[in-house]
């Protein structure tokens, strides 16, 4: 995805696919067709969208070209953009979303911000009013380029039909290279009606855009030496490793230097979760071993991660004595919140390969004491909860899910407690199988993202783990799932609360539960039926396993409404603004005196 070292030009336009049949070079056609031909040149097979006045010419063209390109009609534009994100995260290709002007475009803003936070490559095409009407407060006019400027990697307003093809070419190039992200193309209606001869450019040249892919050789060497010579070293890896497809390099690096690995929420799956060198997730709800290792390490090696505040905790207490190496493709991520000793700007995969080359066949350091400490932490403070027989504990749900699926299926989540428990327990065996809204924390992401993932070519079911709150934010996409006959298994962790907010109100606001209890709850199983999906419910621990098994055995879209205990809390937890070593463990499992703080 970020592999083009020549940086300014990209002869490869295949969006990850094989060779593409040449477009109808030179043929005169309307702008709408130019758009579709350009998308085909980019290897687009599928897009998600919703029609409207300003984008009608394009929809007309999609009808004519329906043999060559697929369009999935969603039920809300937010669904379209999250589906494009889910598709992109599952495949590594650029996801595409098509909507109309004004309200259609404003409905995708959340998704753009989400994709920007999580560096997801998507191209969003919005219709716009006639060029002659722009600025006149026309019907369904909004300054979409203005509104989306801060939440896209780049955006365009196309003003001439001849510019459509080069703009699409550039948009895809920008979306997938460097630090990937969302690119928006605003297309006025008259431009999609106007005609020109089709010509698709072979390469892109943006002299002012040159992502650095290879790390600075001397810095890489220095980094390797420091990693070798520092006993208490930890690899802290994030979404950048997933984006650059560097699982193998990471595994080898951890092997060759005998290093512990802790992934962030966005990095889950890029390192085998069950591996003895894996400490589990890091951050606010990360494992004891992962968080303590950050507090105790003498060297933190961040790769494709960005010292997010949910990971560092209180920045002034964050790993004060540790040296830091930071590998990231985005220079602005380096030295932003945390000062680093060895910055390396570059692509995670390329830089790790450079590190491996520098290591050669040197034997791995033993790190005996460090491993002693880490294994003790892992053994003494594992993820744990007190199970109950009268009610389903949420953690039990996720343990059963893990046991049933072995982490082999793609799993998307919404945002809240269920997301954190899924992150702790779901053993995704690949980064592209774990799809969650990390940076923005967007409730409503899960179901449409699962749709996108289900259309990514996987033959397996796609799991969507959601909460009773989040699910209702994009619930309308059930219709899309059923319409497209998608193999999506929706697991609602139903606690009758906006659980994560309730947890904070319990812990930090003396249980003053303010607007977190949803008094009225729909019957989700009946909703499933009304939409033409299958609905199941489990209310007791005895029913749980059976419902899960039945759900996965039932073809098509299934809702499993799992009624869990109402007031369970996610632990471990680093309270906002506290340091790693202040992390709180589940008081029901660990007597409140442990762990001692430093």
């Amino acid at each position: 995805m970020t592999a083009n070292p020549s940086k300014t030009t990209s002869p490869d336009t295949t969006n990850g696919k094989g060779a593409i049949a040449p477009g109808p070079e030179g043929e005169v056609m309307r702008g709408a067709r130019v758009l579709v031909e350009s998308l085909l040149q980019e290897g687009v097979e599928l897009m998600f969208g919703y029609p409207g006045g300003a984008i009608l010419h394009v929809y007309d063209e999609l009808h004519l070209q329906s043999e060559r390109i697929n369009h999935v009609l969603v039920r809300h534009e937010q669904g379209a953009v999250h589906a494009a994100e889910g598709y992109a995260q599952a495949t590594g290709k650029v996801g595409v979303c098509l909507v109309t002007s004004g309200p259609g475009a404003t409905n995708v803003v959340t998704g753009l911000a989400n994709a920007l936070s999580d560096s997801t490559p998507i191209v969003v095409i919005t219709g716009q009013v006639l060029t002659t009407a722009i600025g006149n407060d026309a019907f369904q006019e909004a300054d979409v380029v203005g509104i989306t400027r801060p939440c896209t990697k780049y955006n365009y307003l196309v003003k001439r039909v001849e510019d459509i093809a080069p703009t699409i070419k550039e948009a895809f190039y920008l979306a997938r290279t460097g630090r990937p992200g969302p690119v928006l193309v605003d297309l006025p209606k008259d431009i999609t009606a106007a005609e020109c001869a089709f010509h698709y450019p072979e390469s892109v040249s943006i002299p002012s855009y040159k992502p650095t892919v290879r790390g600075h050789t001397r810095q890489v060497k220095k980094a390797v030496e420091l990693m070798r010579s520092t006993e208490k070293t930890i690899l802290y890896v994030g979404g950048g490793v997933v984006a650059s497809g560097a699982n193998a390099e990471l595994k080898e690096l951890a092997d060759k230097l005998n290093l512990p690995v802790t992934p962030t929420l966005m990095g889950l799956g890029c390192y085998p979760p069950g591996h003895q060198q894996c400490l589990g997730m890091l951050g606010m709800h990360g494992t004891y071993a992962a968080n303590m290792s950050m507090a105790e390490a003498d060297l933190i090696v961040a790769i494709g991660s960005r010292f997010d505040d949910r990971v560092t905790g209180a920045i002034e207490n964050f790993a004060v004595n540790a040296k830091k190496i930071h590998v990231d493709i985005d220079p602005t991520s380096v030295n932003k919140s945390v000062a680093v000793d060895i910055p390396i700007v570059g692509d995670a995969k390329t830089v790790m390969q450079q590190m491996l080359d520098a290591i050669g066949d040197d034997p791995a350091p033993e790190r005996k004491e460090w491993w002693n400490t880490l294994t003790t932490w892992k053994r003494d403070f594992p993820l744990a909860y007190k199970d109950r027989s009268d009610t389903i504990m949420p953690q039990r749900l996720f343990e059963e899910l893990a046991d049933l699926t072995k982490g082999e299926y793609i799993c998307t989540t919404d945002v809240g407690q269920h997301q954190m428990w899924a992150a702790q327990y779901y053993p995704a065996d690949d980064g592209r199988k774990w799809i969650t809204s990390g940076g923005l924390g967007t409730m409503g992401f899960g179901l449409p993202a699962a749709m996108g993932a289900a259309l990514s070519g996987t033959k397996d079911p796609v799991i969507c783990v959601t909460g009773d709150g989040s699910f209702q934010m994009c619930i309308q996409e059930l219709a899309t799932c059923v319409h497209e006959d998608l193999n999506v298994k929706i697991i609602i962790m139903n606690n009758n609360f906006l659980g994560m907010v309730r947890q904070w109100q319990e812990l930090f606001y003396s249980r003053r539960y303010s607007s977190v209890g949803m008094k009225y709850f729909p019957d989700f199983a009946k909703i499933a039926e009304a939409y033409g999906a299958t609905g199941l419910r489990a209310e007791t621990p005895e029913e749980l396993r059976g419902v899960l098994e039945k759900g996965f055995d039932t073809p098509g879209t299934v809702i499993m409404d799992i009624i869990v205990t109402k007031e369970a809390n996610v632990y471990p937890m680093i309270p906002a603004g506290a340091a790693h070593y202040e992390l709180a463990m589940d008081p029901e499992v660990y007597p409140p005196t442990t762990p001692e703080s430093k």
Partner: protein, 174 residues
């Protein structure tokens, strides 16, 4: 952490709609400050130079230059060293009702290099091009005479002639 100090940053950016908005939006969106801003064409076609004055500590100015560099259509960002050559324009209309104030104005102009642009029986309009500190002093010198109107531009800055090997478009184009 260092104290915030004044920095002049020159940005060479493609002259297309929205690019200035991206630069300004970056500052407002990330809580960086803009003291002043000057934009104009360069010797290169379709290329604009933005000269921006900001207050920032070391960490923030590093972020500012990196974030500017990250903008897709920004070609070059130069953080000018302290003491770089800079010029701004001030135009003042001064009260002038008698021979005494006329003499005062003449004296100040001679001393500072300011010059008269136009005058009426009641006032003189003068201009000065100088660096920010000199312009400040000039305004103070004029203040006792009575300033009826003042318009001050943002500064432009450039490397010493011959020193800027960075790019043709960044050589002093006085």
């Amino acid at each position: 952490m260092t104290e915030p100090t004044r920095h002049i940053v020159s940005i060479l950016v493609e002259d297309s709609p929205g690019e200035l908005a991206r630069i300004v939006g970056l500052f407002s969106g990330r809580g960086f400050n803009i003291d002043s801003l000057a934009v104009n064409r360069t010797t290169e076609p379709r290329m604009s130079r933005v000269v921006l004055v900001t207050r920032a500590d070391e960490k923030v100015i590093e972020q500012i230059t990196k974030q500017l560099n990250k903008l897709i259509r920004v070609h070059k960002v130069i953080q000018h060293p302290q003491g770089t050559l800079e010029r701004e324009l001030v135009v003042l209309t001064l009260r002038c009702q008698n021979a005494k104030s006329r003499e005062d104005i003449e004296r100040i102009c001679k001393l500072t290099g300011a010059r008269t642009i136009t005058y009426t029986a009641a006032d003189f309009t003068v201009e000065l091009t100088a660096n920010a500190a000199k312009v400040d002093d000039f305004i103070e010198l004029c203040r006792p005479l009575g300033i009826r109107q003042m318009v001050r531009s943002a500064p432009v800055a450039f490397g010493k002639p011959g020193e800027s090997a960075e790019s043709d478009t960044f050589e002093a184009t006085a």
